[in-house]
Symmetry: C2
Subunit: 325 residues, 2 copies
Amino acid sequence: MNKNSIVIGVDIGGTNTVAGKIASDGTCVQKINFRTDVDDSAAFIEALKLTIQQLVESSSGTLAGIGMAAPAVNAREGVIEHSANLRWGKLPIVELIKRHFAVPVTIINDSNAAALGEMAFGSAKGLKHFMTVTLGTGLGVGIVVNRKLMEGAFGSAGELGHMILETNGRACGCSRNGCVETYVSATGLCRTVFELLSYSMEQSILRGVAYEDLTANRVYDAAMQNDRLAMQAFTRTGHYLGRMLANTVAAFDPEAIILTGGLMRAEELLMRPTIESFKQNALSFQQKRLRILRSNFTDGEGALLGAGSMVQHWDAINEMVQTEM
Amino acid sequence: MNKNSIVIGVDIGGTNTVAGKIASDGTCVQKINFRTDVDDSAAFIEALKLTIQQLVESSSGTLAGIGMAAPAVNAREGVIEHSANLRWGKLPIVELIKRHFAVPVTIINDSNAAALGEMAFGSAKGLKHFMTVTLGTGLGVGIVVNRKLMEGAFGSAGELGHMILETNGRACGCSRNGCVETYVSATGLCRTVFELLSYSMEQSILRGVAYEDLTANRVYDAAMQNDRLAMQAFTRTGHYLGRMLANTVAAFDPEAIILTGGLMRAEELLMRPTIESFKQNALSFQQKRLRILRSNFTDGEGALLGAGSMVQHWDAINEMVQTEM
């Protein structure tokens, strides 16, 4: 890629969309956030088009391509489909954006984009076998085997948020019970708070908060004020995560697992019990060699950079993804 | 490979070792079984050498190579190490066999050999993404991603027998609790029989059998005589297996899972509840597209043929394994 080229990376979320201008060294030099119109796809496409134009026009470089990340992506067809949070039905987003920009345009699942971002610019530089676990509203996993994204036969590998962790456990949006993400995610943390509120007699700031008003950030703020119940909710979440990672490592045997997503704001509150529980639950010979890392990207930029990296290293990464299809 | 060449495939087990002469079309034309001397590695190597010589001498073809499969293999170093059932310590078996035969000699984990056997000559011909689950004394898994064996960063991917299926579940030989193989294996089946004997009031032939005398074959024979408790033990085992497969498919999204190993002698007794439970426990969009198949190999020949296939397609498969290392 020409040194004067720029790439636009886009991370489409259920609440906000972030578009960023990425320089050839992988730094995000400018970012624009806008609220995702989850009901009107035409309005969303228009907003995205204008945002990209704005980023391009404010730059002296030439546009080399646009890489997007979103939930519920069919990467082969370039469409977003049946997303729980984006009520657009089936949206041929690659085709719609290509109409406005005469450059390569691509889209990839956001969990996979996070893995590509870590591999291209982050903590996974130089690693061959690793996974990223994105802890947001749900739990998303990107799996890299031998420096290739593992997509599975039908493009849905990595649905580790829907491995069943607890028999007859919590009800999940997927209509089953006990899925990992009902315990290990921002939502899972809040559910754990309510389980603890029901079970223990511990005083807590959170006894004054209704279920629908509780957010992971409020639990975090409470924990920062030494609210024991809030801290315990993080500890439990880490214990669940450690058990999930032990199962994951038994299956995949990676060099490292990189944790990212909004919930990782809690840092040691979550990392310490996670590592403790991983050690308790992993096979003895797998315990020591795995590294559990936190992503070094700020503001969850990993998915945006990963989506952009699909363009920057267009040939290499395109081939990487193709071979798994 | 020359049409007159033969390959020796060897499957080393904790009880018996089988060596077979494989023709270039993948048929096993002659087999010799002998009891594995699990205490004396020198005696074992001598017995193996003599068996291979016998197979080679009774053949008009020339020996192209020897491919072996065993538990607890370090394929990179060509050694068997810290096996629970083979008390040989660290045995450099490839080097020891090479001293006697001037041909390529290789060794691979038996679960991976089963996957290679299915890919080269069995139910996985033409598949890109699949897994084999070998149900024997324990539970072994071979994972193929994009026609490549997945070995993991440290060579121990596929330890799915040690994913934790039940929190605080049955004690496992790996010193943890609730591992899949404590439920889904020949041993797991016997443990389930004893759980049912303790729990239910059902009459059963198996009430007259001591724990250490019970084998999966006896449970099978009882079930064939319509012993309801024995049949129930298979049903439960299938339910556990179906749940484990649902978790596995969430992670890997393969085209097919091929079931093999001694326990599969039970056929529909195990397959029916397995498929039923998989459908109950899998993500809805993953339920229909996965195929759960039985191996078509007789007498568990898959691992032997897979080990042999390492030699037969020496260049191709060697490359396949190398790239994952």
